[in-house]
């Protein structure tokens, strides 16, 4: 479904990603871990199409299409979803109006009829249960004055409504208490199907107790330096990242 080959990316001339290759198939959950500054969030941003990053080398194909050639909105319409590390507060734009616009623009792109108000409302109601989000939040301006946990829940709620084929969760767990974390993880798990895939970007192993990954990749200095099963995450939790760093420097010396 997603094929990343030798991806290099820079911001303002500073290289961040230095040759990432990754294959993701439908139904899989991949965790990307790594210390701060290793390039985890950059990878998520590049895949979603954030314009301040410049791809200097490599290619990314999503369902056979050149992803890097698409605008951020077209990537979303093709089925890529980025759950933001810091969801943006947008005063004056109501959550409901925003989401309805998004859903209908995605549907239009796919040649589907727009949803009328009634159908959209019933879709909202169905998905609200999934992430235990309060209806009152959705009548407010988008993310405005939401707590950290509410913002992250709202990300997963949007994901539920938009039904992406590839979800990228960028540090969705950071800053959440265990109750909020469980709600978020539960939402993600319920949305999992054989057809869609998930990339979980995280610093902490804790999230992976609730979202069980098929593969764990360790990112360090812009490269994937180690890949393994979910046990790798436990090992990292146990030994910390220094162990990886030493192993890398050991091999390069």
């Amino acid at each position: 479904m997603l094929s990343i080959k030798n991806l290099h990316a820079a911001i303002e001339g500073t290289p961040i990603l230095k040759g990432i290759s990754l294959e993701i198939k439908p139904g899989e959950v991949h965790a990307i871990m790594g210390p701060n500054g290793s390039g985890k969030s950059t990878l998520a941003s590049v895949l979603a199409g954030r314009e301040e990053y410049e791809v200097t080398e490599g290619e990314v194909y999503f369902k056979g299409k050149d992803l890097l050639d698409l605008s951020p909105e077209d990537r979303a319409r093709e089925g890529v979803f980025l759950a933001f590390q810091y969801p943006v507060e947008i005063p004056g734009v109501s959550s409901t109006n925003f989401l309805r616009t998004a859903v209908n623009q995605v549907r239009e792109y796919r040649g589907q009829e727009p949803l009328d108000a009634v159908k959209f409302l019933s879709l909202m109601k169905e998905k609200m249960k999934l992430v235990e989000i309060d209806q009152k939040l959705l009548s407010r301006a988008l993310n405005e004055g939401f707590s950290g946990g509410e913002k992250k829940k709202n990300e997963i709620f949007q994901m539920a409504v938009l039904e992406p084929t590839l979800s990228i969760l960028d540090e969705t767990d950071s800053g959440l208490d265990i109750d909020a974390l469980k709600v978020v993880a539960n939402g993600v798990n319920q949305l999992k199907t054989k057809e869609n895939a998930t990339i979980v970007v995280t610093h902490y192993q804790r999230l992976l107790d609730y979202i069980i990954p098929d593969y764990v990749h360790v990112l360090f200095d812009g490269r994937i330096v180690k890949s393994g099963s979910k046990d790798l995450a436990l090992e990292l939790e146990d030994k910390g990242y220094d162990w990886i760093k030493e192993e890398i420097s050991g091999t390069t010396v």
Partner: protein, 436 residues
């Protein structure tokens, strides 16, 4: 004659000469005499004048207009109204139609039980003497120019205790002709004790020839009276508009002004609220959406004279192309005006590198127990918010429109008259989707 660079005496001279031959209006001979003196002394403002340092409107008038007289009344106005798409039509309420600044009684729809409506030329001496008593000639050269040039105008009196639930729409149809291209509408509105009124003002420009509309509106708002005044400025690229509005607000009364400036060549609005007694409320809201070379300058002034009054001010602008916005907000809190709350905000979004905003808060506070705040921001559209919306599948243009509409919405939400609010939202929405 000595020519000082601070003043444009030449332009003043043209008006003074032009009006000299006019038939005298005995009711207003004192007002016109004082206007003449002010203009002889001060001339019209140039950029050297602090209050007009960003807005060279006198020069625009000299450059753009050829006829400085008043045009005659428009023929077949009724027919023209029918075909006028830009006109806001009231479903329910009262309408005053003006033809090049002069009220047309046949086309107007007013309930004489609720309003006392009179032409300025038909007033008693006592009532006529109040004209120019609130917005005095010496306050602004354009006020003096209006006083010098107006041939008639409107006075409305709302009797004590009358609550006018439906809005009053004042539409001014404007079209220059071979007689002239300057219109000087003059309005005086007295709202009695405990009375209430919502006024909607709209100017409709027929054709796109250069024209100057220089209006003066004076409000006398009685005790515990409540006024909402909405003004829609949606002309064309060659129209020049100057408005001087001043409201005297008495105890427990409120005055709310909302000015929407959507299209025009150069617009200058002077809005002053004199909160003369305690427990007054003055609200000033503005929205300007500018493109091309449109220039809009809002100068506001609120004067807190007694304790326990409140003022709220929010002006927001979205500027594209080479447009320019000017905001100057004066707040005075006099020594007696303890427990004053005064808030002021001016926020701007620049959509182009060539667009300019000049914003200046001016607070003068002599009382010590007050809450005052002001703030201004000028920046681009929030890139992070734009990306967030696009990452959800919303196209770039739609995302921009959504953000701009949200930005403008804060001002539009202040419109409490549903029909008019819907109309304005529609106009603004079309603009944000299209022109930018």
């Amino acid at each position: 004659m000595t020519v000082s660079t601070k003043k444009d005496h030449k332009l003043a001279e043209i008006f003074l000469t032009g009006t000299a031959a006019m038939q005298d209006l005995p009711l207003y001979s004192n007002l016109k005499k004082s206007a003449k003196e002010v203009l002889e002394e001060s001339g019209m403002p140039t950029l050297k004048n602090e209050e007009y340092k960003y807005t060279a409107i006198s020069k625009r008038i000299s450059d753009q207009l050829t006829h400085f007289g008043t045009p005659s009344s428009i023929d077949n106005l009724q027919k023209k109204i029918q075909g006028q798409q830009e006109l806001f039509r009231l479903e329910e309420g009262y309408t005053l139609v003006c033809n090049n600044g002069i009220v047309d009684a046949h086309l107007s729809k007013i309930d004489p039980q609720l309003f006392q409506l009179q032409a300025l030329t038909e007033l008693s001496e006592e009532k006529a003497a109040q004209i120019g008593g609130i917005e005095k000639n010496e306050f602004d050269p354009f006020t003096a120019l209006n006083s010098l040039c107006f041939r008639d105008g409107i006075r409305i009196d709302i009797p004590d205790g009358k609550i006018i639930e439906k809005p009053l729409l004042l539409v001014n149809f404007v079209r220059p002709d071979e007689n002239g291209a300057c219109i000087h509408p003059r309005v005086f509105i007295q709202v009695g004790k405990n009375a209430q009124l919502t006024l909607i003002e709209q100017t409709i420009y027929l054709g796109e020839d250069p024209v100057l509309v220089n209006s003066v509106s004076e409000w006398k708002v009685g005790q515990n009276a409540h006024v909402r005044s909405y003004k829609l400025q949606d002309g064309h690229k060659k129209n020049l508009e100057v408005s001087n509005t001043r409201s005297e607000v008495q105890q427990d009364a409120s005055f709310t002004s909302i000015v929407l400036s959507l299209e025009g060549g150069m617009i200058r609005n002077n809005l002053s609220l004199d909160l003369n007694a305690s427990n007054c409320e003055g609200n000033m809201y503005g929205l300007y959406l500018l493109n091309g070379k449109t220039h809009v300058d809002n100068h506001t002034n609120v004067d807190h004279k007694k304790p326990h009054s409140e003022s709220n001010e929010l002006y927001k602008g979205i500027l594209a192309d080479q447009s320019r916005g000017v905001f100057n907000g004066k707040i005075f809190v006099r020594q007696d005006a303890q427990k004053t709350n005064a808030f002021q905000q001016n926020n701007n979004i620049l959509l182009s590198e060539d667009a300019t905003v000049n914003t200046k808060p001016q607070l003068e506070i002599w009382a010590d127990d007050v809450k005052c705040s002001h703030g201004c921001t000028t920046g681009q559209l929030d890139e992070e918010a734009l990306f967030y919306l696009r990452a959800r599948g919303i196209g770039k243009d739609a995302a921009k429109a959504l953000l701009l509409h949200a930005f403008a919405g804060e001002v539009l939400d202040q419109l409490k008259e549903e029909g008019f609010k819907e109309y304005c939202e529609k106009v603004v929405h079309a603009r944000l989707g299209g022109h930018y």
